[in-house]
Subunit: 222 residues, 2 copies
Amino acid sequence: MVRKTQEDALITRERILDAAIIQFGEHGVSRATLAGIAREAGVTRGAIYWHFKDKVDLFAAMIERLVERLVTPLFFRSDDNETWIAENPLGFVREGVNEFFEKLAHDRNFLRVFEILWHKCEYVGDIALLRRKYLEEDAKHIGVLQRAFTLAGENGQISANPREAAIGLVSLINGLIFNWTKNRSLFSMPEEALFIMEIFFRGLGAKPKTINRAGEEGAVYA
Amino acid sequence: MVRKTQEDALITRERILDAAIIQFGEHGVSRATLAGIAREAGVTRGAIYWHFKDKVDLFAAMIERLVERLVTPLFFRSDDNETWIAENPLGFVREGVNEFFEKLAHDRNFLRVFEILWHKCEYVGDIALLRRKYLEEDAKHIGVLQRAFTLAGENGQISANPREAAIGLVSLINGLIFNWTKNRSLFSMPEEALFIMEIFFRGLGAKPKTINRAGEEGAVYA
DNA sequence: GCATAAACATACAAACGTGTATGTATAATA
DNA sequence: TATTATACATACACGTTTGTATGTTTATGC
């Protein structure tokens, strides 16, 4: 069986990507072999070399799929993104964190990729170069948060340095993801993670969300 | 030159460990070769196989050196550790964070190891097993923090759930370390990192530290 | 309907790293 | 001072992975 329709070829490509996620997760990116990925996908190495230049290219494609499916939609959620940020910047941020944790907890494929990126990948050589490109996008994301926090400060929603607020927010999120992917029994995602985030929001001078531990009305603190 | 004194042998061992840190940092743990480490240390692979079972054993020794030189002294700082925790638990925690960031920023060898652990290592197979053992110690450290926060709550120093406070604290620290080792121009260590930590402490309901951005008296917020 | 190129499968050579076996000179020990 | 085990250096064989070259079949454009 050869020369499938270009529709089938795309399916093959997706299956290779899914297989790569599994193999990367099992053996780590560097020790995962193209032969193993091919076996996992039910094809031969020839198919992989047809769709991708090499393992790094395959890895890059995996990340691209994650970014365009998860990260980008998080920062640019709708057409009225800007008005949302302008009117309720703190709500925009809170809701974004919420969505993110929600997807992370419920989408197994996202979770697998995050586990790879955090615990099963060595950022050296070509892969380090790859990450350097994403550093610029990271800066953009922090810029969006910083702008939101600036507006939130002018709004009276918070009282804190916007830059440090933004860096602190992404750091706390990163740390929570790291610890949770490292040991999922440490705390629950998204429930406890969100309560911990609220500690930080309180530190920004924000009013507490009006939910308590039972999901009823009331303050989250105390 | 062979059969050195056992004092020299220990020196050789240390040089191999230092060389391993450099090679792990340059090529990543999995792609770093024992031949390269040997070259870096000015010995041959024979020396490495004499002092260590294999690469994983070498890696484990590197971590052990870090733990006993940095991590453990941080949680058990002095003989009156317990009275310190009992009398001023929040101060104990704050000071610990301070020391940690200080060492991370100024000790190049510590920094190198952290960069390896965070960005140049795949936690799979034997190395994953190795980390599982440290999960228990992680739990102990979180336990220490949780106990301190419990006392701080009874003290009136903070008002927050001790468990979530502890997990949040280590998560924020981890996230800051991650982001800073990933891109050191993002913020300054320890200065800005400590300001960001203060956001979290304020979220716990703590009174602000009486330093401002210029190091003078005054609140840190606003 | 035919030529062409897409979409893979198969085969091959070459490099690389690891583990172990063996060699060796000297510090420690008695 | 003779012996032994230490602290390495050297040599060898082995498996493993990668990149590429070539083969093969069929969808697709003309």
